[in-house]
Protein backbone atom coordinates (compact mmCIF):
# COMPACT_ATOMS: atom_id res chain seq x y z
CA UNK A 1 0.00 0.00 0.00
CA UNK A 2 2.71 2.45 0.83
CA UNK A 3 4.25 1.91 -2.58
CA UNK A 4 1.49 3.77 -4.36
CA UNK A 5 1.38 6.35 -1.58
CA UNK A 6 4.99 7.07 -2.35
CA UNK A 7 4.21 7.08 -6.05
CA UNK A 8 1.43 9.62 -5.70
CA UNK A 9 3.83 11.93 -3.89
CA UNK A 10 6.38 11.35 -6.62
CA UNK A 11 3.85 11.95 -9.38
CA UNK A 12 2.33 14.96 -7.61
CA UNK A 13 5.84 16.35 -7.57
CA UNK A 14 5.91 15.76 -11.28
CA UNK A 15 2.76 17.70 -12.05
CA UNK A 16 3.50 20.92 -13.98
CA UNK A 17 0.78 22.78 -12.07
CA UNK A 18 2.39 22.00 -8.71
CA UNK A 19 5.76 23.11 -10.10
CA UNK A 20 4.31 26.34 -11.51
CA UNK A 21 2.63 27.35 -8.28
CA UNK A 22 5.57 26.39 -6.02
CA UNK A 23 8.10 28.25 -8.12
CA UNK A 24 5.80 31.29 -8.11
CA UNK A 25 6.69 31.66 -4.42
CA UNK A 26 10.33 30.51 -4.56
CA UNK A 27 11.44 32.77 -7.43
CA UNK A 28 11.74 36.08 -5.57
CA UNK A 29 13.83 34.57 -2.77
CA UNK A 30 16.07 32.60 -5.11
CA UNK A 31 16.79 35.56 -7.35
CA UNK A 32 17.51 37.75 -4.29
CA UNK A 33 20.09 35.30 -2.90
CA UNK A 34 21.51 34.81 -6.39
CA UNK A 35 22.08 38.50 -7.02
CA UNK A 36 23.60 39.01 -3.56
CA UNK A 37 26.05 36.15 -4.16
CA UNK A 38 26.94 37.24 -7.69
CA UNK A 39 27.46 40.89 -6.77
CA UNK A 40 29.61 40.16 -3.70
CA UNK A 41 31.64 37.56 -5.60
CA UNK A 42 32.14 39.96 -8.50
CA UNK A 43 33.18 42.94 -6.40
CA UNK A 44 35.36 40.82 -4.16
CA UNK A 45 37.11 39.08 -7.03
CA UNK A 46 37.54 42.15 -9.21
CA UNK A 47 38.44 44.79 -6.68
CA UNK A 48 39.64 43.22 -3.48
CA UNK A 49 41.42 39.97 -4.34
CA UNK A 50 45.20 40.27 -4.82
CA UNK A 51 46.49 39.61 -8.37
CA UNK A 52 48.23 36.35 -9.25
CA UNK A 53 52.03 36.44 -8.95
CA UNK A 54 52.71 35.20 -12.50
CA UNK A 55 49.63 36.24 -14.49
CA UNK A 56 48.95 39.59 -12.83
CA UNK A 57 45.40 40.89 -12.97
CA UNK A 58 44.30 38.90 -16.01
CA UNK A 59 43.82 35.92 -13.69
CA UNK A 60 40.63 37.66 -12.37
CA UNK A 61 38.82 36.21 -15.36
CA UNK A 62 38.96 32.94 -13.40
CA UNK A 63 36.04 34.29 -11.32
CA UNK A 64 33.72 33.92 -14.32
CA UNK A 65 35.50 31.29 -16.41
CA UNK A 66 35.74 28.51 -13.82
CA UNK A 67 32.20 28.89 -12.40
CA UNK A 68 30.77 28.92 -15.94
CA UNK A 69 32.64 25.75 -16.91
CA UNK A 70 31.75 23.96 -13.67
CA UNK A 71 28.04 24.79 -13.94
CA UNK A 72 27.97 24.09 -17.68
CA UNK A 73 29.32 20.59 -17.09
CA UNK A 74 26.99 20.01 -14.11
CA UNK A 75 24.16 21.37 -16.28
CA UNK A 76 24.76 18.63 -18.86
CA UNK A 77 24.37 15.99 -16.17
CA UNK A 78 21.25 17.72 -14.83
CA UNK A 79 19.78 17.76 -18.35
CA UNK A 80 20.66 14.09 -18.97
CA UNK A 81 19.22 12.99 -15.61
CA UNK A 82 16.01 14.95 -16.23
CA UNK A 83 15.77 13.19 -19.58
CA UNK A 84 16.35 9.82 -17.93
CA UNK A 85 13.62 10.49 -15.33
CA UNK A 86 11.25 11.47 -18.12
CA UNK A 87 12.17 8.37 -20.15
CA UNK A 88 11.83 5.91 -17.26
CA UNK A 89 8.84 7.26 -15.32
CA UNK A 90 7.24 9.16 -18.21
CA UNK A 91 6.95 12.38 -16.18
CA UNK A 92 6.18 15.27 -18.52
CA UNK A 93 7.70 17.84 -16.18
CA UNK A 94 11.08 16.07 -16.39
CA UNK A 95 11.03 16.45 -20.19
CA UNK A 96 10.17 20.12 -19.82
CA UNK A 97 13.09 20.62 -17.42
CA UNK A 98 15.41 18.78 -19.82
CA UNK A 99 14.29 20.92 -22.71
CA UNK A 100 14.81 24.13 -20.71
CA UNK A 101 18.22 23.04 -19.38
CA UNK A 102 19.76 22.66 -22.84
CA UNK A 103 19.95 26.34 -23.91
CA UNK A 104 21.20 27.46 -20.47
CA UNK A 105 23.98 24.87 -20.53
CA UNK A 106 24.94 25.82 -24.06
CA UNK A 107 25.06 29.53 -23.15
CA UNK A 108 27.20 28.86 -20.07
CA UNK A 109 29.57 26.71 -22.15
CA UNK A 110 29.77 29.59 -24.62
CA UNK A 111 30.67 31.98 -21.77
CA UNK A 112 33.34 29.55 -20.56
CA UNK A 113 34.81 29.32 -24.08
CA UNK A 114 34.82 33.08 -24.71
CA UNK A 115 36.29 33.99 -21.32
CA UNK A 116 38.85 31.18 -21.71
CA UNK A 117 39.88 32.56 -25.09
CA UNK A 118 40.13 36.14 -23.76
CA UNK A 119 42.16 34.88 -20.80
CA UNK A 120 44.48 33.04 -23.22
CA UNK A 121 45.61 36.29 -24.88
CA UNK A 122 47.57 37.78 -21.95
CA UNK A 123 48.71 34.39 -20.62
CA UNK A 124 49.79 32.60 -23.81
CA UNK A 125 49.77 35.46 -26.30
CA UNK A 126 47.09 33.82 -28.48
CA UNK A 127 43.31 33.90 -28.27
CA UNK A 128 42.96 30.17 -28.96
CA UNK A 129 45.08 27.59 -27.25
CA UNK A 130 44.30 23.86 -27.49
CA UNK A 131 44.43 23.50 -23.74
CA UNK A 132 42.73 20.39 -22.36
CA UNK A 133 40.04 22.30 -20.50
CA UNK A 134 39.16 24.58 -23.42
CA UNK A 135 39.02 21.66 -25.87
CA UNK A 136 36.71 19.67 -23.62
CA UNK A 137 34.51 22.77 -23.29
CA UNK A 138 34.33 23.01 -27.09
CA UNK A 139 33.25 19.35 -27.35
CA UNK A 140 30.67 19.94 -24.59
CA UNK A 141 29.26 22.82 -26.63
CA UNK A 142 28.86 20.50 -29.65
CA UNK A 143 27.13 17.96 -27.41
CA UNK A 144 24.67 20.64 -26.27
CA UNK A 145 24.06 21.84 -29.84
CA UNK A 146 23.48 18.22 -30.88
CA UNK A 147 20.81 17.72 -28.21
CA UNK A 148 19.12 21.00 -29.13
CA UNK A 149 19.28 20.36 -32.90
CA UNK A 150 17.96 16.79 -32.65
CA UNK A 151 14.57 18.12 -31.62
CA UNK A 152 13.77 19.29 -35.13
CA UNK A 153 13.84 15.87 -36.74
CA UNK A 154 10.64 14.84 -34.94
CA UNK A 155 7.25 16.40 -35.55
CA UNK A 156 5.63 15.11 -32.36
CA UNK A 157 6.67 16.56 -29.00
CA UNK A 158 6.76 13.18 -27.29
CA UNK A 159 9.17 11.67 -29.82
CA UNK A 160 11.41 14.74 -29.79
CA UNK A 161 11.62 14.55 -25.98
CA UNK A 162 12.45 10.86 -25.99
CA UNK A 163 15.12 11.27 -28.69
CA UNK A 164 16.78 14.16 -26.84
CA UNK A 165 16.67 12.13 -23.61
CA UNK A 166 18.37 9.18 -25.32
CA UNK A 167 21.05 11.42 -26.83
CA UNK A 168 21.49 13.09 -23.43
CA UNK A 169 22.09 9.70 -21.82
CA UNK A 170 24.52 8.63 -24.55
CA UNK A 171 26.30 11.96 -24.04
CA UNK A 172 26.34 11.54 -20.27
CA UNK A 173 28.18 8.23 -20.64
CA UNK A 174 30.64 9.87 -23.02
CA UNK A 175 31.39 13.13 -21.17
CA UNK A 176 33.80 11.59 -18.63
CA UNK A 177 35.43 9.55 -21.40
CA UNK A 178 35.87 12.69 -23.50
CA UNK A 179 37.32 14.68 -20.59
CA UNK A 180 39.76 11.93 -19.63
CA UNK A 181 40.88 11.25 -23.21
CA UNK A 182 41.40 14.98 -23.87
CA UNK A 183 43.50 15.22 -20.67
CA UNK A 184 45.51 12.18 -21.76
CA UNK A 185 45.91 13.72 -25.21
CA UNK A 186 47.10 16.95 -23.57
CA UNK A 187 49.86 15.22 -21.61
CA UNK A 188 50.88 13.34 -24.78
CA UNK A 189 51.60 16.53 -26.68
CA UNK A 190 52.73 19.21 -24.19
CA UNK A 191 53.77 19.14 -20.58
CA UNK A 192 51.07 20.58 -18.36
CA UNK A 193 51.23 24.34 -18.75
CA UNK A 194 49.38 26.66 -16.36
CA UNK A 195 46.59 24.51 -15.03
CA UNK A 196 43.24 26.32 -15.15
CA UNK A 197 41.76 24.59 -12.18
CA UNK A 198 44.58 25.38 -9.82
CA UNK A 199 41.87 26.40 -7.34
CA UNK A 200 42.93 24.81 -4.02
CA UNK A 201 46.58 25.84 -4.28
CA UNK A 202 45.45 29.46 -4.52
CA UNK A 203 45.76 32.00 -1.73
CA UNK A 204 42.56 31.98 0.45
CA UNK A 205 41.85 35.62 -0.46
CA UNK A 206 41.77 34.57 -4.09
CA UNK A 207 39.97 31.27 -3.48
CA UNK A 208 37.05 32.55 -1.38
CA UNK A 209 35.54 34.80 -4.11
CA UNK A 210 35.72 31.83 -6.46
CA UNK A 211 33.60 29.71 -4.10
CA UNK A 212 31.08 32.55 -3.77
CA UNK A 213 30.95 32.94 -7.56
CA UNK A 214 30.46 29.20 -8.11
CA UNK A 215 27.54 29.20 -5.65
CA UNK A 216 26.17 32.30 -7.37
CA UNK A 217 26.37 30.57 -10.76
CA UNK A 218 24.59 27.45 -9.44
CA UNK A 219 21.77 29.68 -8.14
CA UNK A 220 21.72 31.56 -11.42
CA UNK A 221 21.36 28.22 -13.24
CA UNK A 222 18.42 27.28 -10.97
CA UNK A 223 16.64 30.61 -11.45
CA UNK A 224 17.13 30.54 -15.21
CA UNK A 225 16.01 26.89 -15.38
CA UNK A 226 12.84 27.72 -13.41
CA UNK A 227 12.07 30.66 -15.70
CA UNK A 228 12.60 28.62 -18.86
CA UNK A 229 10.57 25.72 -17.40
CA UNK A 230 7.65 28.01 -16.53
CA UNK A 231 7.54 29.32 -20.09
CA UNK A 232 7.74 25.74 -21.37
CA UNK A 233 4.87 24.66 -19.08
CA UNK A 234 2.65 27.40 -20.46
CA UNK A 235 3.63 26.47 -24.00
CA UNK A 236 2.75 22.80 -23.54
CA UNK A 237 -0.17 22.98 -21.12
CA UNK A 238 -2.07 25.76 -22.86
CA UNK A 239 -5.16 23.56 -23.08
CA UNK A 240 -5.19 22.74 -19.36
CA UNK A 241 -8.00 24.33 -17.37
CA UNK A 242 -5.69 25.63 -14.63
CA UNK A 243 -3.72 27.53 -17.26
CA UNK A 244 -6.85 29.15 -18.67
CA UNK A 245 -7.98 30.04 -15.17
CA UNK A 246 -4.54 31.48 -14.45
CA UNK A 247 -4.64 33.60 -17.58
CA UNK A 248 -8.08 35.00 -16.85
CA UNK A 249 -7.04 36.01 -13.28
CA UNK A 250 -3.82 37.43 -14.71
CA UNK A 251 -5.57 39.63 -17.26
CA UNK A 252 -8.29 40.49 -14.69
CA UNK A 253 -5.88 42.02 -12.24
CA UNK A 254 -3.93 43.91 -15.00
Amino acid sequence: MNLNLQWTWFHRLGSPRWFYQKTQRWLPWLSLVMSVLLVTGLVWGLAFAPPDAKQGNSFRIIYVHVPASVVALAGYYIMAIAGAVGLIWRIKLAYMLMRSAAPIGAALTFIALVTGAIWGKPTWGAYWEWDARITSMLILLFLYLGVMALRHTYSSNEAADKASAILGLVGMVNVPIIYKSVDWWQTLHQPATIKFTGAPSMHPDMFMPLVVMILGFYLFYTVSLILFARAEILRREYRASWVKQLVTDNSAEK
Binding site: S155, S156, N157, E158, R236, R239
Partner: protein, 210 residues
Protein backbone atom coordinates in the same frame (compact mmCIF):
# COMPACT_ATOMS: atom_id res chain seq x y z
CA UNK B 1 -17.76 -19.00 -23.17
CA UNK B 2 -17.73 -21.12 -26.33
CA UNK B 3 -15.29 -19.03 -28.35
CA UNK B 4 -12.12 -18.18 -26.42
CA UNK B 5 -11.75 -14.42 -26.02
CA UNK B 6 -8.59 -13.50 -27.93
CA UNK B 7 -8.44 -9.73 -27.72
CA UNK B 8 -10.09 -7.15 -25.43
CA UNK B 9 -9.48 -3.40 -25.74
CA UNK B 10 -10.73 -0.89 -23.15
CA UNK B 11 -11.04 2.85 -24.10
CA UNK B 12 -7.74 3.07 -25.94
CA UNK B 13 -6.73 6.67 -26.68
CA UNK B 14 -3.71 8.26 -28.30
CA UNK B 15 -2.51 11.87 -28.15
CA UNK B 16 0.07 13.47 -30.39
CA UNK B 17 1.05 17.10 -29.63
CA UNK B 18 -2.15 17.31 -27.55
CA UNK B 19 -4.23 16.44 -30.64
CA UNK B 20 -6.54 13.50 -30.00
CA UNK B 21 -7.52 11.68 -33.22
CA UNK B 22 -10.42 9.43 -32.24
CA UNK B 23 -12.81 8.78 -29.39
CA UNK B 24 -11.52 6.13 -26.94
CA UNK B 25 -11.78 2.69 -28.58
CA UNK B 26 -13.31 -0.36 -26.81
CA UNK B 27 -14.12 -3.75 -28.32
CA UNK B 28 -13.50 -7.44 -27.77
CA UNK B 29 -12.70 -10.16 -30.31
CA UNK B 30 -13.14 -13.91 -29.97
CA UNK B 31 -11.58 -16.61 -32.13
CA UNK B 32 -13.26 -17.09 -35.48
CA UNK B 33 -14.40 -13.45 -35.55
CA UNK B 34 -13.43 -10.61 -37.88
CA UNK B 35 -13.67 -6.93 -37.01
CA UNK B 36 -13.99 -4.35 -39.76
CA UNK B 37 -12.57 -0.97 -38.66
CA UNK B 38 -14.43 1.79 -40.45
CA UNK B 39 -13.64 5.50 -40.48
CA UNK B 40 -13.13 8.29 -42.95
CA UNK B 41 -9.65 8.82 -44.34
CA UNK B 42 -7.51 10.49 -41.71
CA UNK B 43 -9.83 9.34 -38.89
CA UNK B 44 -6.76 7.62 -37.44
CA UNK B 45 -7.17 4.05 -38.74
CA UNK B 46 -3.44 3.70 -39.40
CA UNK B 47 -2.64 5.21 -35.99
CA UNK B 48 -5.06 2.70 -34.45
CA UNK B 49 -3.17 -0.17 -36.10
CA UNK B 50 0.18 1.28 -34.96
CA UNK B 51 -1.20 1.29 -31.42
CA UNK B 52 -2.32 -2.32 -31.71
CA UNK B 53 1.13 -3.54 -32.82
CA UNK B 54 2.89 -1.61 -30.05
CA UNK B 55 4.62 0.72 -32.49
CA UNK B 56 3.01 3.67 -30.69
CA UNK B 57 2.31 3.82 -26.95
CA UNK B 58 -1.31 4.73 -26.08
CA UNK B 59 -1.85 7.69 -23.75
CA UNK B 60 -4.75 5.85 -22.07
CA UNK B 61 -6.61 2.55 -22.09
CA UNK B 62 -5.63 -1.12 -21.75
CA UNK B 63 -5.27 -4.09 -24.08
CA UNK B 64 -5.88 -7.70 -22.98
CA UNK B 65 -4.60 -10.66 -25.02
CA UNK B 66 -6.16 -14.01 -24.10
CA UNK B 67 -7.24 -12.50 -20.77
CA UNK B 68 -3.76 -11.33 -19.83
CA UNK B 69 -2.82 -7.64 -19.63
CA UNK B 70 -0.61 -6.64 -22.55
CA UNK B 71 2.35 -5.67 -20.35
CA UNK B 72 2.58 -9.22 -18.98
CA UNK B 73 2.21 -11.12 -22.24
CA UNK B 74 4.01 -8.81 -24.68
CA UNK B 75 6.30 -11.60 -25.95
CA UNK B 76 3.47 -14.09 -26.61
CA UNK B 77 1.32 -11.34 -28.11
CA UNK B 78 4.01 -10.26 -30.58
CA UNK B 79 4.81 -13.90 -31.41
CA UNK B 80 1.21 -14.49 -32.33
CA UNK B 81 0.31 -11.48 -34.49
CA UNK B 82 0.75 -10.68 -38.17
CA UNK B 83 0.63 -7.10 -39.41
CA UNK B 84 0.39 -6.06 -43.06
CA UNK B 85 0.28 -2.29 -43.49
CA UNK B 86 0.59 0.16 -46.33
CA UNK B 87 4.30 -0.53 -46.76
CA UNK B 88 5.05 -3.90 -48.34
CA UNK B 89 8.25 -4.54 -46.38
CA UNK B 90 9.82 -6.03 -49.48
CA UNK B 91 13.54 -5.55 -50.04
CA UNK B 92 14.16 -4.42 -53.64
CA UNK B 93 17.52 -6.14 -53.94
CA UNK B 94 16.28 -9.56 -52.77
CA UNK B 95 14.39 -11.94 -55.03
CA UNK B 96 10.68 -12.65 -54.52
CA UNK B 97 11.35 -16.06 -53.00
CA UNK B 98 14.03 -14.69 -50.63
CA UNK B 99 11.70 -11.91 -49.54
CA UNK B 100 8.86 -14.28 -48.74
CA UNK B 101 11.20 -16.64 -46.90
CA UNK B 102 12.51 -13.66 -44.90
CA UNK B 103 8.98 -12.62 -43.93
CA UNK B 104 7.74 -16.10 -43.11
CA UNK B 105 8.32 -18.01 -39.88
CA UNK B 106 11.44 -20.11 -39.59
CA UNK B 107 9.93 -23.51 -40.10
CA UNK B 108 8.06 -22.84 -43.36
CA UNK B 109 8.98 -25.50 -45.92
CA UNK B 110 9.89 -24.47 -49.45
CA UNK B 111 6.72 -26.22 -50.70
CA UNK B 112 4.66 -23.81 -48.58
CA UNK B 113 6.63 -20.88 -50.02
CA UNK B 114 6.13 -22.19 -53.57
CA UNK B 115 2.38 -22.77 -53.09
CA UNK B 116 1.97 -19.31 -51.53
CA UNK B 117 3.72 -17.69 -54.48
CA UNK B 118 1.61 -19.78 -56.82
CA UNK B 119 -1.57 -18.62 -55.09
CA UNK B 120 -0.70 -14.93 -55.61
CA UNK B 121 0.35 -15.65 -59.19
CA UNK B 122 4.04 -14.86 -58.66
CA UNK B 123 5.42 -18.39 -59.07
CA UNK B 124 7.25 -17.47 -62.32
CA UNK B 125 8.89 -14.53 -60.61
CA UNK B 126 10.39 -16.53 -57.73
CA UNK B 127 14.03 -15.83 -58.61
CA UNK B 128 13.56 -12.34 -60.03
CA UNK B 129 14.88 -9.45 -57.84
CA UNK B 130 12.06 -7.25 -56.64
CA UNK B 131 13.38 -4.00 -58.05
CA UNK B 132 12.19 -5.29 -61.46
CA UNK B 133 8.64 -5.83 -60.16
CA UNK B 134 5.79 -3.31 -59.94
CA UNK B 135 4.44 -1.90 -56.65
CA UNK B 136 1.32 -4.03 -57.06
CA UNK B 137 3.48 -7.14 -57.28
CA UNK B 138 5.42 -6.02 -54.18
CA UNK B 139 2.10 -5.87 -52.41
CA UNK B 140 1.22 -9.36 -53.53
CA UNK B 141 4.51 -10.68 -52.14
CA UNK B 142 3.53 -9.14 -48.79
CA UNK B 143 0.05 -10.65 -49.04
CA UNK B 144 1.51 -14.08 -49.81
CA UNK B 145 2.48 -14.10 -46.13
CA UNK B 146 -1.18 -14.86 -45.35
CA UNK B 147 -0.53 -18.38 -46.58
CA UNK B 148 2.69 -19.02 -44.68
CA UNK B 149 2.03 -17.34 -41.32
CA UNK B 150 1.13 -19.27 -38.16
CA UNK B 151 -0.10 -16.21 -36.23
CA UNK B 152 -3.65 -16.41 -34.83
CA UNK B 153 -4.33 -12.65 -34.74
CA UNK B 154 -4.12 -10.75 -38.03
CA UNK B 155 -3.99 -6.97 -38.38
CA UNK B 156 -4.59 -5.99 -42.02
CA UNK B 157 -4.52 -2.24 -42.82
CA UNK B 158 -6.39 -1.76 -46.12
CA UNK B 159 -5.39 -5.17 -47.58
CA UNK B 160 -7.69 -4.76 -50.59
CA UNK B 161 -6.27 -1.39 -51.68
CA UNK B 162 -5.40 -1.33 -55.42
CA UNK B 163 -6.06 -5.04 -55.95
CA UNK B 164 -7.80 -6.65 -58.90
CA UNK B 165 -10.81 -8.96 -58.58
CA UNK B 166 -8.64 -12.08 -58.46
CA UNK B 167 -6.48 -10.57 -55.69
CA UNK B 168 -9.52 -9.72 -53.55
CA UNK B 169 -10.88 -13.27 -53.90
CA UNK B 170 -7.54 -14.70 -52.83
CA UNK B 171 -7.43 -12.58 -49.68
CA UNK B 172 -11.03 -13.28 -48.75
CA UNK B 173 -10.29 -16.98 -49.21
CA UNK B 174 -7.30 -16.78 -46.88
CA UNK B 175 -9.28 -14.80 -44.32
CA UNK B 176 -12.13 -17.30 -44.42
CA UNK B 177 -9.74 -20.20 -43.97
CA UNK B 178 -8.03 -18.41 -41.10
CA UNK B 179 -11.35 -17.70 -39.35
CA UNK B 180 -12.49 -21.30 -39.78
CA UNK B 181 -9.23 -22.43 -38.14
CA UNK B 182 -10.15 -20.27 -35.10
CA UNK B 183 -8.02 -17.22 -35.88
CA UNK B 184 -9.15 -13.60 -35.46
CA UNK B 185 -8.75 -10.68 -37.87
CA UNK B 186 -8.88 -6.93 -37.41
CA UNK B 187 -8.88 -5.21 -40.77
CA UNK B 188 -9.78 -1.91 -42.35
CA UNK B 189 -10.94 -1.41 -45.94
CA UNK B 190 -13.16 0.76 -48.08
CA UNK B 191 -14.66 -2.08 -50.14
CA UNK B 192 -17.41 -4.04 -48.41
CA UNK B 193 -16.81 -7.77 -48.42
CA UNK B 194 -18.82 -10.58 -49.99
CA UNK B 195 -17.68 -13.82 -48.40
CA UNK B 196 -16.63 -12.62 -44.94
CA UNK B 197 -19.26 -11.71 -42.33
CA UNK B 198 -17.57 -9.16 -40.09
CA UNK B 199 -18.66 -7.03 -37.16
CA UNK B 200 -17.89 -3.40 -37.91
CA UNK B 201 -16.51 -0.81 -35.49
CA UNK B 202 -16.63 2.88 -36.37
CA UNK B 203 -13.67 5.11 -35.40
CA UNK B 204 -15.51 8.39 -34.84
CA UNK B 205 -13.34 11.53 -34.81
CA UNK B 206 -12.74 13.17 -31.44
CA UNK B 207 -15.13 16.09 -30.82
CA UNK B 208 -13.40 18.64 -28.62
CA UNK B 209 -15.82 19.25 -25.74
CA UNK B 210 -15.76 23.05 -25.48
Amino acid sequence: MAATNILKVENLAFERNDAVLFEPVSFHLSSGEALHIEGANGAGKTTFFQLMIDMLQPSAGRVYFRGQAFSECRYDYLCDILFIGHQSGVKAALSVEENLRWMSPDNTSSEQIASALQAVGLDHYAAIPCYRLSAGQHRRVALARLMTTDATLWYLDEPFAALDKQGIDFIEGCMQQHLSRGGAIVFSSHQDLVKIVARSYKLNPFREVI
